[in-house]
Symmetry: C2
Subunit: 153 residues, 2 copies
DNA sequence: TATTGTTATACTCTATAACTATA
DNA sequence: TATAGTTATAGAGTATAACAATA
């Protein structure tokens, strides 16, 4: 019998988790991990990571922007962005082009193949969003969630 | 003049970000990073990471539980949990005790110092939560957020 | 045979410093 | 001097395999 026996609680009972689960940060983290896991599952056949998808979407909406601009808009350090762009370029989804008046910079474009690929990816992503909206209970709740997340960020 | 010039958009204009910002996963990730950054800032003087704080809170509510139980409740792999527990033990905040009827297992307890430390940490965390509630616009919105995050996880 | 804690290891993500070529 | 892209590197966080002690 050790000094802690009176407090010992090694039964099979579930742990008390009210405090941890009540933390905004903890809940946010778990929800984010859950959604990213879902993302990886949905995008397994397309072999695309969340960051890569966000880059393709942003590039299509902003063709010809510099690497550093796309990276900054997603809060990706430009040093870390190089390998990500390398990967997409090697897969033929995007191209780096020279900027006429600034030979230091790369302008980023989706290739035709990349545009087709992104169309497929958008379809997959729409399914994921639909799945999440269903879990949330409707588009109104989705909008509420996005608005609350925006306030926090 | 290259083939893309008509589409080139290297002006100083802000990028179009509607699509990325409308993704639930993206917004979740950014909000989570933002809150964790805040956490690190608030807990800088206490030198405590989010995972360590959640462990201390869970241990106080569940004294004498096995390492593997605490780890599992937080979805931390038991292999990765060893170093985390080592750190808290070396700081004198927790102790590993022998479980009477199972000499394989460690029962985890807060030390007296750990209990005092956690009281301080809880105060700091309360300030962080208050800060987030203020950003969200009130406790009602906080409850709404937690409930929506729960549905997603 | 299975479980607990542990070690070793590898992979991803992220952060910083320093280089090059241009501006 | 400053900036864009790049390389190298280091630190977290996370995942798996394998081992010793014990059940």
């Amino acid at each position: 019998m050790n000094e802690h026996e009176a407090l010992t609680n090694t039964s099979d009972e579930n742990l008390r988790t009210e405090a941890t689960l009540g933390m905004i940060g903890y809940r946010l983290r778990r929800a984010q991990l859950s959604v990213f896991q879902q993302f990886l599952s949905f995008f397994e056949t397309l072999n695309l990571r969340p960051a890569e998808y966000s880059v393709l979407v942003l590039m299509e909406e902003n063709p010809g922007r510099k690497q550093s601009e796309i990276a900054a808009a997603l809060s990706i350090k430009r040093a870390n962005f190089v390998a990500l762009v390398d990967g997409l370029e090697k897969r033929g989804l995007i191209s780096r082009e020279v900027v006429a008046n600034d030979r230091r910079a790369n302008a980023l474009y989706l290739t035709e193949q990349g545009t087709r690929f992104l169309a497929d990816a958008r379809d997959v992503h729409a399914k994921l969003e639909d799945d999440l909206v269903a879990k949330l209970g409707g588009t109104e709740q989705r909008d509420t969630l996005l608005s609350l997340l925006k306030k926090i960020t």
